[in-house]
Symmetry: C2
Subunit: 243 residues, 2 copies
């Protein structure tokens, strides 16, 4: 629009056109933002994944989650084809394709351990930070993970508990809550787990994992911590050094 | 636009006008949606609150949070005017104006108890569901809450732990994580707390609280559970009956 035309226009007309222009610009920016958000979170047009699981979970057959391609049906006596909080949790964990970072206070659940070992065999990079005291309790799966070659580090302080219970699936899906990875927690207790891909929630947990991973690097404590003080039962401190 | 004018219009012109109309309609709907979301979540134009707090927290003076209107400065030796994870947690809890629903496994932190008692005195409707065993451990604040007249219920089963650690502020802000409400958890352990107003996360926790509140209604167990079996130390079963 030339200056000449602008001058000939009445004030009301000018304001009307400017107002319409501003409105169109605002709407255009919003539309662009909306489009970008929808392209970014392709799975769900409503936004990033947000799911809440409550426990105790009903006990159902989860065999199909470990072997999705097998042709014969499972003959175990548990209910089949039924979703439960635990099967959803397993599904989320088994969806990992690149990296799984675990920060778990107590880890003794055999099925969850089986899932982590399966991911490790598939080539997923698994890192585990756990609690110093609880990693050696009866039934702990930490020894099995280490024997399979999975990198496990633990809280170094004797007076502090690493009480988190979260997992980061491929660095972009957060699984966190009150649930320790034990059979009692899954089958008996009142517990919760949040599963989300919300970047504002995932990113702080990624940073926390990095902090804890670095802080529990055993090579930093090699000279200060006697090997025996962190060797309990089947767990060997020397295994940590390679992680 | 009349049918006569439409007939006189070329096909290209018609398509152009229809396209522009569709675009304007889409943008209008998006704009309306955007406006409604902004009106609904007034605090943050980016969407509902999402905040992550990690512990251990540094220990700072939080006196000003309990008495925001007092005129004289606090003379305690702790650092003043410094935000910490714990002060943020307290701020969120003390922002309650109508109702506070707590579902906490272990509650022995004196400052958190002080906050809950203060809210109760201000007229906030406080409801607490806690664990049967942990409510009577040394230092538990559950007795103080009950003596002040706050409704406390506990898990009825002897073999199950009520292991949640969440709070619902005015039914629309969720505070949840790995953190038990104890001094060790706040000051020593590696813990996390998520604070969010995301409806997709808040709503399931509201429903879980209602389920647990109903399930632990002591009047339902009056005939079945001997009073002595749920009376420990300063905690009286009979107090529950009114809640």
């Amino acid at each position: 629009m030339s200056l000449f035309v602008l001058c000939q226009m009445s004030l009301v007309e000018l304001l009307k056109r400017l107002g319409l222009g501003a409105l169109a610009l605002t709407l255009g920016v919003e539309w662009l933002d909306w489009m970008l958000r929808r392209l970014w979170f392709r799975r769900d047009p409503k936004g990033p994944l947000k799911e809440v699981l409550f426990f105790p979970s009903s006990i159902t057959c989860v065999e199909h989650l470990y072997c999705p391609n097998r042709t014969f049906p499972c003959s175990c006596p548990l209910p089949h084809g039924v979703d439960s909080s635990f099967s959803r949790l397993l599904e989320h964990l088994l969806s990992t394709s690149v990296s799984l970072d675990l920060c778990v206070f107590s880890f003794s659940h055999a099925d969850l351990s089986r899932a982590v070992l399966l991911l490790h065999r598939r080539g997923v990079m698994v890192r585990v930070v756990t609690d110093r005291d609880y990693m050696s309790i009866t039934g702990s799966q930490i020894g099995s993970l280490r024997r399979a070659g999975i990198c496990v580090r633990h809280e170094m302080s004797k007076v502090v508990h690493m009480h988190h219970k979260f997992a980061l699936v491929d660095g972009r899906k957060l699984v966190t809550g009150s649930l320790n990875w034990t059979a009692t927690a899954v089958q008996s207790n009142k517990e919760n787990v949040i599963v989300t891909e919300e970047p504002e929630l995932v990113q702080p947990f990624r940073e926390e994992f990095s902090r804890l991973w670095e802080a529990s690097d055993p090579t930093k404590y090699k000279g200060q911590v006697p090997v025996n003080s962190v060797t309990k039962g089947q767990l060997s401190y020397s295994k940590d050094v390679d992680c």
